[in-house]
């Protein structure tokens, strides 16, 4: 990898850009792929693209410059890759493009490929197979990469039941967190009756520390739309929504453009590919409410109301949007569907562990060297993810825990580093898969403080509908705050555990039921830290000031 000095940051809007790339008229000898996902964009990667187009366009006739989606290694951005040789340029500055131009000039058909670094080498890409390889704003690019081939095959050669069987055979489980078998969900919606069915893509990625869905939609929106269209055919729906976070403007604009382009290319809309099948998609914006990731709250939000959940059953699969059968899957789940149809359910089921098939995309962040997006087979150990792919802990610090599952997940300590990651193993370790955020912590993180942080998040995001969650999260936060500020008494841990159990058992939806998880998991593995705060009035990590919080 070529190291260049750090860049200053600047965010370019994705629309209305004059320069989108460079494609020579004749054969392409060499190409430069410039990452234009949000992380690199905010480090002025669009200026790099413009600069390369300018230089390459005037001095070389057989070089292409292309905007691509996320290359994964966000920590080293902005990134430029030369696919012909596999060379990757990191920390590129718009005013220092000469090394890239020279490398482009040196590419020959016989060029030796640079061996992939361990960060890329250990990954298996299915949901992110096109990420960093195609232009996310070009439907032609997607089609060239086998895009919409799965939809064509489904519409012309398979019955809806055969599609559902293939998904069931693949063993795919919901990637939004709970891991519900996707084939089972599709069958339930297919069997349900109603005047019209809906397919919803849940892109309301609210977990702090998670950016998988954002990156997938920014890098390859068509794959998600194709997955939705296949799902719609399989369950008998003709209308769909992408429910997207309002905080992700680039995702919204790229998804909207993808819907327009796909409709023009006859891959969405009415009588798709000259068949009877019709599927129209629209984008709906979330507005910053974590609870809207919950299915029934999400539906309430699409209907224009406050995002408060309702009791289940009835499940959305039977009575969802406007009271009709509704299929809700996560972005990554839909992104896995076209590859499964193209390569077969058996192929997908051959990857992963006994009960968790395929791969999982993780957003690696926190105190780890290679922060970014990684996709690994289920069953890959935490050690491989954090130390091999992630490059270990920054600044010579020591690994303490990895937090998975978002604010309703848990902290997994070092003794589990050799555990293979799948739905079951994470559950046994007291956490859960969640949408795939993985935040690495070192000895400078105080686990009491971390638990307080998550409870603060939950108490703010509680919708207020049911009492256990509304009152319980606030009370739990006050208890954690007392511990973190040296005001707690012996016996407070036990009181807190009783209350946490009550909140977990009696809350209406997943938000309240999951809110106590960080408390449980930190107490399970780091009880001595709690005791140090209470008995000795010291914070072992030196984070908590041990002074009473002054409410502003």
């Amino acid at each position: 990898m070529t190291e260049l000095p750090a860049a200053t940051s600047r965010l370019e809007p994705s629309t209305g850009r004059p320069v989108e790339g460079l494609a020579p008229a004749g054969p392409i000898r060499a190409s430069a792929y410039v990452c234009e996902a949000v992380s690199c964009l905010s480090m002025a990667s669009h200026d790099i693209l413009t600069g390369l187009v300018e230089v390459a366009g005037t001095t070389m006739t057989d070089v292409a410059v292309k905007r691509v989606g996320c290359l994964g290694l966000c920590a080293a951005g902005p990134l430029v890759r030369i696919p012909e040789t596999g060379e990757l340029f990191s920390h590129v500055r718009p005013d220092a493009l000469q090394p890239i131009v020279e490398a482009l000039g040196a590419v020959t058909p016989a060029a030796v490929r640079v061996p992939e670094s361990v960060f890329f080498d250990r990954q298996v890409r299915i949901a992110t197979e096109h990420s960093g390889r195609i232009d996310p704003e070009s439907v032609e690019d997607y089609v060239e990469a086998d895009g919409y081939a799965a939809l064509r095959r489904v519409l012309t050669t398979m019955t809806p039941a055969e599609v559902r069987d293939e998904i069931t055979k693949s063993g795919l489980r919901g990637r939004g967190g709970a891991g519900y078998p996707t084939g089972l969900k599709w069958n339930t919606v297919a069997k349900a009756t109603g005047s019209g069915k809906y397919v919803i893509c849940n892109a309301d990625e609210g977990d702090p520390g998670a950016f998988m869905d954002r990156t997938i939609l920014e890098s390859d929106p068509h794959q998600v739309l194709e997955g939705m269209a296949i799902a719609a055919y399989a369950v008998g729906a003709s209308y769909g929504y992408v429910y997207c976070r309002g905080e992700y403007p680039l995702v919204v604009s790229r998804t909207r453009k993808a819907i327009r382009d796909a409709t023009q290319a006859d891959c969405l809309g009415t009588t798709i590919m000259d068949t009877e099948f019709t599927f129209e998609v629209d984008v709906r914006l979330g507005a910053g409410a974590y609870v809207c990731g919950e299915e029934t709250a999400l539906i309430a939000s699409i209907e224009g109301g406050r995002g408060t959940p309702t009791a289940r059953p009835p499940y959305p699969a039977v009575s969802g949007l406007w009271g009709q059968p509704t299929l809700i899957n996560n972005v990554e789940t839909f992104a896995n569907v076209p590859p499964i149809i193209r390569k077969g359910g058996d192929w997908f089921a051959s990857i992963g562990t006994a009960k968790s098939k395929g791969t999982k995309v993780f957003a690696l962040a926190g105190r780890v060297a290679n922060t970014g997006l990684v996709e690994v087979p289920m069953g890959t150990t935490l050690r491989e993810i954090v130390f091999d792919i992630g490059g270990g802990i920054v600044d010579g610090h020591v690994f303490k825990a990895v937090q998975t599952g978002g604010p309703a997940g848990g902290c997994i300590p070092a003794e589990f580093l050799d555990m293979g990651v799948d739905y079951e193993s994470l559950m046994e370790a007291g956490s859960f898969m969640g949408s795939g955020g993985m935040i690495v912590m070192d000895e400078t993180s105080c686990m009491v403080n971390v638990a307080r942080f998550f409870m603060d998040f939950m108490r703010e995001e509680s919708c207020g509908k049911c009492v256990p969650c509304r009152v319980g999260t606030t009370q739990l936060w006050m208890m954690l705050d007392a511990i973190a500020s040296g005001q707690a008494q012996v016996g407070d841990i036990e009181r807190m555990e009783r209350l946490a159990t009550m909140v977990q058992r009696t809350s209406l939806c997943g938000l309240g039921q999951g809110a106590p998880n960080p408390v449980f998991s930190t107490l399970r593995y780091f009880r001595d830290e709690y005791l140090a705060h209470i008995v000795d009035r010291v914070c072992p990590a030196g984070v908590c000031t041990m002074e009473a919080t002054v409410l502003a």
Binding site: S9, R10, L11, V38, S39, S42, M43, C74, A75, G77, E205, G206, D207, P208, G209, A210, F211, R214, T215, G246, E247, Y248, R284, L285, G286, A287, G288, A289, Y290, S301, I302, E303, G304, G305, R306, G307, A363, L364, A365, G366, R367, T371, G372, Q403, P407, G437, I439, M441, T444, S445, V450, F453, F454, F457, C463, A552
Partner: protein
């Protein structure tokens, strides 16, 4: 027989109301267009005032109580006008363990402003973000729409003071 109701007029002749009106019309002026309409109003005006709430409610046949309930339920909507500039400091998990609180404390000390408030001179609104998915750039902040990566508290304060 249902009587076709006349669309209510915009509160004033500001051209930006057309953005809101168009978005509502595209969704058939149905009640479920409420959140999209609030998004449009906030995009157009920066915040959503009482006139906007009433206009949207009347246009979509949604009672004022529901409009107010929805507008205040979602964190993204703001009913108070913002300062001339905005600085959003991310306090998501990755930013939190990488020092987001120190960044907030420095801004508070230097500019005398706390989250969700605007400086006395109306120049800067300080906001807290719930993770904008730039975790690999932690700690991150957004100043007037520009994402600032790996923020240094001192540098950010100097940048904000220079606004």
């Amino acid at each position: 027989m249902p009587v076709a109701q006349a669309r209510p007029p915009a509160p004033n002749d500001d051209k930006r109301w057309r953005i809101v009106e168009t978005r509502m019309r595209r969704l058939g002026n149905r009640p479920d267009a409420l959140i999209e309409a609030l998004h449009a109003a906030q995009e157009a005006f920066g915040s959503i005032d009482e006139d906007a709430l009433r206009y949207i409610g009347d246009s979509l046949s949604v009672p004022p109580s529901t409009v107010f309930g929805v507008a205040t339920f979602y964190h993204y909507f703001t009913l108070e006008p913002r300062g001339e500039h905005t600085c959003v400091v991310c306090t998501g998990t990755a930013c939190y363990i990488n020092g987001a609180l120190e960044v907030l404390a420095s801004i508070r000390t230097a500019l005398d402003v706390i989250p969700d408030e605007t400086t006395a001179d109306g120049k800067l609104s300080l906001l807290i973000g719930r993770c904008f998915g730039s975790c690999s750039l932690a700690p991150a902040a957004i100043v007037d729409g520009d994402v600032q990566a790996r923020v240094d508290a001192g540098d950010l304060v100097r940048q904000l003071q220079a606004l």
